[in-house]
Symmetry: C2
Subunit: 503 residues, 2 copies
């Protein structure tokens, strides 16, 4: 492990040490699980202060290249977590922080590609730009600034603008959720509602495991990775999360939280059946495990309303209900909300305030004015009709252009068609690369799994693209797949590190 330090450069010594160790790890000179010298010893050898080495190791740990274990030292990270740390057979993959993609890279790539002229994107999670109520929101903003301009531009209560919270509470009461405005925390998008919940529920414990559907919304997997929490994946079938597995998981792993999107799940589109909703609440209540219910797609239903929300069925007061207006109205407002169980309401407000003080009151006032204009119900009807038509077109195109062995379920709501291509054929990554040449982008199924599973799955957004783009994009995807098959592309091993460039 030779390390050479230059004293005459601007680069701090600890970064020089980190860089040379990084190279040795990446080129294999330092093999996985190798124990690095104690910081004292390496410092003495190099003639530097021990802090230099401690900081170099911390740098490498932040990058996920080494792991430090209290009392035993610092080790080169392996592709697999050491057996002693692996919490469960359900956790099938690589260590936290080593997922080949994160939401950031995915979304960055998707945004960049989707802006290229001529690209057909099935990749994102945006609502259709066609229906954004620009005019009505502009009217609302003007009304607010004329009437309440100073208040809308000043600080506001951290929990949010009370009239907006009361309006949201009334919508919830219609869904038999017994809340009032004071119970509602306004968040900066639904994402912050999820992050705040994870924050307050996982502060105290050492073994922080969180139950998720597998696959799962990738922004939630990012929250877990950022907080060094471990996802425990529960498989999903046509009825949603396989709830009958939960009791064993709870008894064995004592999870801090169960995260679920019961209606029109992202990415699979499935809906948790009513019996399973009741069973989930029963088992979670029995063991006192909180549930975080992500309701952000609930109002995008195409075959009638979904079963009652978990929150409306929750007699034990253990459900955190998160939602927002990004998928159903306008992502750019960045307004979501969270209803926490009563014992947690003060703590979620404090956590939200610590994160960003408050959500833009300007946008809160404008949303409140818009919701009172009465346009929202019409807007939802319009988008539901349009998205249902797109869903049907995409499903028909999948039947027409995809191989017979491909598997998908037509979702009863939401934005996504989840397609599993035949496991004997090209992987989704192969198809992704080939599809870029046809100017079509989609989301790889594997990014939604903490475990690197779903190598042959893809998530196709049918809400964002226009009708003619759906037909044409699906045709090109089918063509790309057939070409790969004809070229006899070898199936790649599931666990390989994804090496394609982030475009």
């Amino acid at each position: 492990m030779p390390i050479q330090l230059l004293r005459q450069t601007d680069q701090p010594l600890y970064l020089q040490v980190a860089e040379q160790l990084r190279q040795q790890i990446e080129n294999g000179e330092l093999a996985p699980h190798t124990r690095l010298p104690a910081s004292r010893i390496l410092a003495k050898k190099l003639g530097v202060n021990r802090i230099t080495i401690v900081n170099a190791y911390a740098e490498l740990e932040a990058e996920g290249l080494v792991i430090s274990r209290v009392g035993s030292g610092t080790f080169v990270a392996g592709e697999q977590q050491p057996a002693a740390l692996a919490p469960s057979p359900l956790w099938r993959g690589s260590p936290v922080g080593r997922r080949p993609w994160n939401a950031n890279q995915m979304v960055a790539e998707m945004m960049r590609l989707a802006r290229q002229p001529g690209v057909i994107s099935f990749a994102g999670g945006s609502p259709s730009s066609e229906f954004l109520p620009v005019h009505e929101l502009r009217r609302a903003l003007n009304e607010v600034l004329r009437r309440d301009g100073v208040a809308a531009l000043q600080y506001e209560e951290a929990a949010g603008y009370l009239p907006l919270r009361e309006t949201i509470a009334r919508q919830m009461q219609q869904q038999h959720i017994p809340v009032n405005g004071q119970d509602i925390l306004i968040t900066t998008g639904c994402q912050q509602a999820l992050d705040v919940t994870v924050n307050v529920l996982t502060r105290s414990s050492e073994d922080n495991l969180v139950v998720v559907e597998d696959p799962c919304y990738l922004g939630f997997l990012d929250i877990l990775a950022a907080r060094r929490l471990t996802p425990l994946g529960v498989p999903v079938d046509g009825q949603g999360m396989q709830v009958d597995r939960l009791e064993q998981i709870i008894l064995r792993h004592r999870p801090r939280l169960i995260y679920t999107t019961p209606s029109f799940h992202n990415p699979t589109g499935t809906t948790l059946s009513l019996p399973r909703r009741r069973a989930l609440l029963e088992v979670a209540s029995r063991y006192g495990v909180p549930i975080l219910e992500d309701s952000c797609y609930d109002t995008l239903y195409y075959e009638g309303e979904p079963p009652p929300s978990l929150k409306s069925l929750d007699t034990a007061d253990i459900v955190f209900l998160a939602g927002g207006f990004g998928k159903t109205l306008a992502p750019g407002l960045r307004i979501g909300y969270l209803v926490a169980p009563s014992a947690w309401q003060e703590r979620v407000i404090a956590a939200k305030q610590t994160a960003d003080i408050l959500t833009s009151p300007l946008n809160q006032y404008a949303l409140h004015s818009y919701l009172h204009s009465g346009h929202y119900a019409d807007h939802l009807s319009l988008t539901r009709r349009a998205y249902r038509e797109r869903r049907d077109l995409m499903a028909a195109a999948a039947r027409r252009y995809f191989p017979q062995e491909a598997v998908w379920r037509c979702p009863a709501g939401g934005m996504y068609l989840w397609v599993e291509m035949p496991p004997s054929g090209p992987t989704a990554t192969d198809l992704y690369m080939a599809a870029i040449n046809y100017s079509v982008v989609f989301a790889l199924g594997s990014v939604f799994s903490a475990s690197n599973s779903f190598s042959h799955a893809m998530r196709l957004n049918f809400a964002t693209p226009a009708l003619d783009e759906i037909e044409e994009g699906m045709r090109r995807l089918g063509k790309a797949w057939k070409e790969l098959l004809a070229r006899n592309i070898r199936v790649q091993p599931v666990n390989q590190r994804c090496t394609m460039p982030i475009l």
Copy 2:
């Protein structure tokens, strides 16, 4: 430790256990440092599943009432951290999470009181409502929605709207900070810039200590508490942070980060001198300790510009520069920014995206349009003139109405006058309670200290109130203080738990 469980109620068993333990802790039946029974044993005794007890203990731990130590068990928390855990003599106070106040409670109280008719508030951190450019921002919003309505309401790149980032970069270039737009991350207020920085810098390490000025911006102390990090306070004098103490602290405690507000520090109003800025950079670079520079008051100067920012002097690329438009333009836009050292830029973008996906593009577009209108420079001149006048009036009133032994320094910028009342007299908490009867509110000095110090200090905001309110409010404060003194109010012990109601 008798515990009685009811099986016929809706309340989960673990909450029943937690509640009864909580009562026993709070009424003293369970003394500080008492070891609770092992979960296995208590579970057997009560005839419940072990998970019930584990969850009850976790609930109490989340509330800060018990502490669990791996391998040794769960203990009732004490008023003092056990000596073995106390990281430093500089950490003079109560365990993390046990500060008597947090920003949330402070701001909630301040907002509530300030809304009462007739109350004069020196407590908050708001800019004056008089100068909010409502009309210009409304014009900017309309321009944006006419021209770019769909883009402003859709998702946007996580790092922010590039033209806005380029505009901010040009402002920085004028201050000799060599950045371009790509180096700038737009955040949801300056608070998120601080939180994101702490997040990326403290993920990997076990001993997470952070150097702060003592006293320190209380929202930053909340960030540390929420992430279970320990502040190491460095005293502040007329030249700002006492930088000569840093080397010893770094060598002894290996902090992950040094947080500072070098210009017009909140709450003391002090400015770090140029020699100390250079010394701070030198010592931090030598040991590779990153600096987080909070610049949110930099443009509010009343005696000429402050010394060059740390970022502009930073040749080792170790400074994270955080700033925002909340103090200088409009809090309600919720727009801040962060310039990270180049090695950290990808990671801060990912952390920001995990927190809330992106900052409202509507507000970003509008701010960009406003900044291009050319009104901002005039707005800053106007507010600087007005705030300087208010500062001078408040300082004159302090001379007139406060006791001779009271100590303050006239700040060269920012929003706050920090006043230390004579230590032999009533505490600031006494004065706070008395002042409420006179309809005057201020911020207690002790909330800005992780250590519960500054029992006789108060922070007075001179920017928010109108001129006549300053004169009248200071007169009432002086009167309240004299009455307390005349009634011979006993000096309260510094470490007592603050028991006054949150109004």
